[in-house]
Symmetry: C2
Amino acid sequence: MKVDLDRSKEPSLREQICAGIGERIRSGLLRPGEKLPSVRQLARDLGVSLMTAVEAYALLEKRGLVESVQGKGTFVRERSMPVDVAGDPFGWQMAVADYLPRASFWSQSAVRLPPEILDLATASIHHSLLPLPLLEASIESALKKAPQSLGRYAPFQGDPEFLEVVADYLRHQGLPISPHQLIITNGTQQGIDLFARTFLGPEDVLAMEVPAFSGAIDAFRLSHPHIVPVPVDQEGIRVEILEELSTRMRIKAIYVVPTYQNPTGSVMSLKRRRALIEFAVETGALILEDEPHRELTLAGKGSLPPPLKALDPDGRVVYLKGFSKFLFPGLRLGVLAADGTLYRRLLAAKSIVDLGSPLWLQKALVPFFRDPKLPRYIDRLNGILLRRSRQVGDTLAQRLSPAIRWQRPQGGMHLWLTVPPFLDADSLLPEAHRRGIHFLPGSIFYPGEPESNHLRVCWTNLADEELPRALEILCGVLNEAVR
Amino acid sequence: MKVDLDRSKEPSLREQICAGIGERIRSGLLRPGEKLPSVRQLARDLGVSLMTAVEAYALLEKRGLVESVQGKGTFVRERSMPVDVAGDPFGWQMAVADYLPRASFWSQSAVRLPPEILDLATASIHHSLLPLPLLEASIESALKKAPQSLGRYAPFQGDPEFLEVVADYLRHQGLPISPHQLIITNGTQQGIDLFARTFLGPEDVLAMEVPAFSGAIDAFRLSHPHIVPVPVDQEGIRVEILEELSTRMRIKAIYVVPTYQNPTGSVMSLKRRRALIEFAVETGALILEDEPHRELTLAGKGSLPPPLKALDPDGRVVYLKGFSKFLFPGLRLGVLAADGTLYRRLLAAKSIVDLGSPLWLQKALVPFFRDPKLPRYIDRLNGILLRRSRQVGDTLAQRLSPAIRWQRPQGGMHLWLTVPPFLDADSLLPEAHRRGIHFLPGSIFYPGEPESNHLRVCWTNLADEELPRALEILCGVLNEAVR
């Protein structure tokens, strides 16, 4: 087993090992009943003393995460007895070390909910609101016009025709960009991963807004940089904290979702955007801007400040745009924009990891992006979401205890609820499930020490007729917990 | 700039730095005229003395790869003058270190060939021979049956219905496997990358057959393991060399293409397959088996030994199957098979890097894999390739100088030609281009010190009427070089 250790820092090594293994257990990478490596093996894998390994296991046992069985070894704890590894033909595999520090998104998604549970966790738009007829027509048309694309690879950066329609689309969203600055990715998630693998390693510092999208945290952790959490407020990431940090360390890159931040929903002000870029230029940092929600604005496009990439003075901002949220979740294509040698290096990384995204999918989407019905669809969707957001806001304002803090949504898909500090949102889940709803506990949105008195609620995923009941249950569960 | 250094080993650090930067220049990651970091910056990035950095640059200059310009810095060499970085707004980016050691596949594919050049380099089947009508019918049918899949994410491992038809297909190819052992990937390349990221790091040893697919070398290098090349002979990877190596180091994983090896075309014998598995079990090594060509057999399926995965005693073999070569290059889907906790960890990695492959593509391929015309297509394709392979063999036997060694193809898509040791295949490319053909020089198929007197020729990529002329030109270029 591998655990990222920082030998120069507090907390102690045994604490760091305990935290690392704890994260793997919570992620489901280590499952109940599974046998941990022997202390001898662990000490060897991590290059620590036998005593440190023994102390780390003792700490894990004290915290109730593992239990040791005399003469058999140490096992991930569960209610029943440890699995008998002697009868497991794959038992030897536990000794094979890996480099996965955490996989929260995976473990969350692996939660199998009964179909009657109303899902307030998944960040998506209800399928009845997606532009499926436009997509079907687009595919039909591409089948006629470009069947030969079924039999060919795309250039690593993407199909030239598709890059062109995507650049047009982005320009309409306020980002002046040209096709040669773009790389097609398998969704935003791959864009984050490409950036991390290309530029971040164990010696680098990544400043990351917190709370933050848990999938992004997973992807960054996989490249093993030192992650420094920087809080967001109502205007976005707090640049004054970045400035203070930079007196003590060299920040290589900064990750932000400036527009309808996930999960808090905040929008970075224009002033803050300028300050962030100025900070990056002064300190030599890169900025990774992730913008999945710009189109989902309830106050109108004109109300939003431009993307950071549109303010980029010298090719410092790498921009990610996903389309899965409200256009085509089933096709998993996104786009990355960058300049200069950063662009070329990210493109080389894309070529290494999968040789490029499927040509046929790109060709199948060309008519979709050219369809004049697409902007009308987005306007109509925002009309529906505006009505819905009012309903959500009114319900919570009427029903939710004033001890619970939240903000009316301005755009995006989420609400971030803060319960009093004595409450742990994870511990509210069993009762929520019993009554018929699911939400995401806030703890998975932190790369380091989590705050556990938050929860994220997505209000766009349910059908119109399901949402009121789900909100009512949510208010009930939270109000009772607060009392 | 980052370069993987091994401080415990020969050659010297300056030699290692020179080799690492040289590889980046040859890969196109550093381009002619581009400025290298200052020696001071390089020394800091790599944690070496200033003197070592100075010596490394001197060595690069001596080998003609860079030139230093008084008062300006060190530049990647080109015929013209160094680019004036003062006028380049992105010039500062060169100081941003990255973790890409090489991208040969990218640099090869970036070679823009005029359309009249006959391409003997690309490993694919001519589009007229691909099952495009079956694919079109399958997509049409899925548009009717599963339009809602356009609007949904797939489970990280893949769509259950698709996993089932893929498992059926693999069983027909001689691999007894069930859907719950499978993970859908974005082509085999992503499968290699998932394996490397999950299990290989700077402290691990990967034994890799040589020569080997250059895209696989690129993917492994990105995870920075210590790569030990192990030669293949007519029966596959030489297990006795693995045994000898294992007395000196712990081999964590072994990468092989046992069936129609890329690029040599050799088929690992059943005896060797058994010996390889026995070796892995004894030493605790994992095996990554990459099998893109099993179906393309000229002697009939019955003549091939089973996949290593079919002989796997204890979940030690991770198996990769690509479909891009002869079924659907434009869709970029492949599959990975594994067991136990290795399976779960690879699945967690897949969830981290891209949240799963597109659901709609998977649904669109379900009818294709169920179509009784699919096995008939593969048989017909093999009939055509058999005829072709005879034509290729006869032409080379008649026309090529006996000083050039090669073997009649038994399956797969490539020929591996060996010219006398005094010849360098890279240096033959300009003349080949002048006369109208392109091939791959053998040097990119080696993870370490390359052998340069080989070339790979793909005989399945051209149209029937183009192949004879391409072969004639090839024989002409090689025969003249040998004389």
